[in-house]
Symmetry: C2
Subunit: 203 residues, 2 copies
């Protein structure tokens, strides 16, 4: 099958909405037969048109960073309440210490790669959506601020959470598929309500 | 009084936690007798030590951007459900069109400046917390990506939402004081549950 059940492609121009509510992300990278995934609360959309872009902070100490620098690519996934433990585990253990070439396999965490793609960072199963990005090389801000920029070249989402380019109303998303937002130390808040604001005018 | 009721100072080293869950922010700036505030979903913490820093995307079309470039300072506030309408209004109307020198006054939105500070961007009342930042001048990424970096020089929070350097457990925060996370078009999700993840180990 081209994609796992419930997973659909997303127009990269709409992928910013997967990041807009500020969920923690999982950052994946692959190079030279090694694959790794780390967690990153410090991420944001950077543009939606004409070139959809993201920004993410990736510390110098991480194993993932070297794979991104070598391969020029990374993927972001927006994990959900259903994989909160896996997310915290990926953020707590370094792939440098993994017994094997793929941190996800070493932790027993499921992943997939869309059919037809090669040498692609693994997408962690159970996310609400994923973005495949090409690194935009900006060596000064990478070395000074650990700040990485990427061009979104493809995106996917779980249709039970995100469809037609946007999240479903929160009450229609099963709790296990709602995004998680890191407070720190493995504590996350999860969206529970949705409000529609009204714009006022000049007094 | 030095600060409004319930508002306490926050150690800048802990201010990253105000941004960590990905809430939309209000960006304030003041210069030459003009004050302005805009909304920005694309924001993140950039560091907590040794120098606490933030990153935020500020479009070239905004009135706020010129005030930041001229003054070298900006403030971020994390708005709450109680001021969702004001947040959307601030994001929908440009201060360039405001009848008066202060967009907040022109919209009837309350604000304050902590005692002893001068020429300081207005802090919008009703936020869970605020960060006062000095712009870190990086002209290349500002002009290419609309990406602004700042050094956090002071921070404050509403003790009913954020105390001792972190958010209170979500069930202890009154709904009106919970942060809002922008889906787009004035629709926001609001945290409703909190989970403590457990870290696993290698298989």
């Amino acid at each position: 099958v081209p994609l796992p059940q419930h997973i659909q492609t997303v127009d990269p121009a709409h992928a910013w909405r997967l990041l807009n509510t500020g969920a923690t992300v999982l950052v994946s990278a692959t190079h030279g037969g090694r694959s790794n995934v780390m967690a990153a609360a410090w991420n944001m959309a950077l543009d939606y048109a004409p070139v959809p872009k993201v920004a993410v902070v990736i510390d110098k100490s991480t194993f993932t960073r070297g794979l991104i620098e070598s391969s020029g690519r990374f993927a972001l996934g927006a994990p959900t309440q259903g994989i909160a433990d896996a997310t915290y585990t990926l953020g707590s253990l370094s792939g440098r210490d993994a017994p094997g070439a793929n941190k996800l396999d070493a932790l027993g965490i499921n992943w997939f790669v869309p059919e037809g793609l090669h040498d692609t960072p693994p997408l962690v199963a159970g996310c609400a959506g994923w973005l495949l990005c090409e690194r935009i090389a900006e060596p000064h801000i990478e070395s000074t601020y650990d700040l990485f920029l990427g061009r979104i070249c493809a995106a996917w989402a779980d249709e039970r959470a995100f469809i037609n380019g946007k999240f479903k109303p929160i009450e229609q998303i099963p709790p296990a598929l709602r995004t998680i937002h890191h407070l720190g130390g493995g504590e996350f808040v999860v969206p529970g309500a949705q409000v529609k604001a009204q714009s006022g005018g000049w007094k």
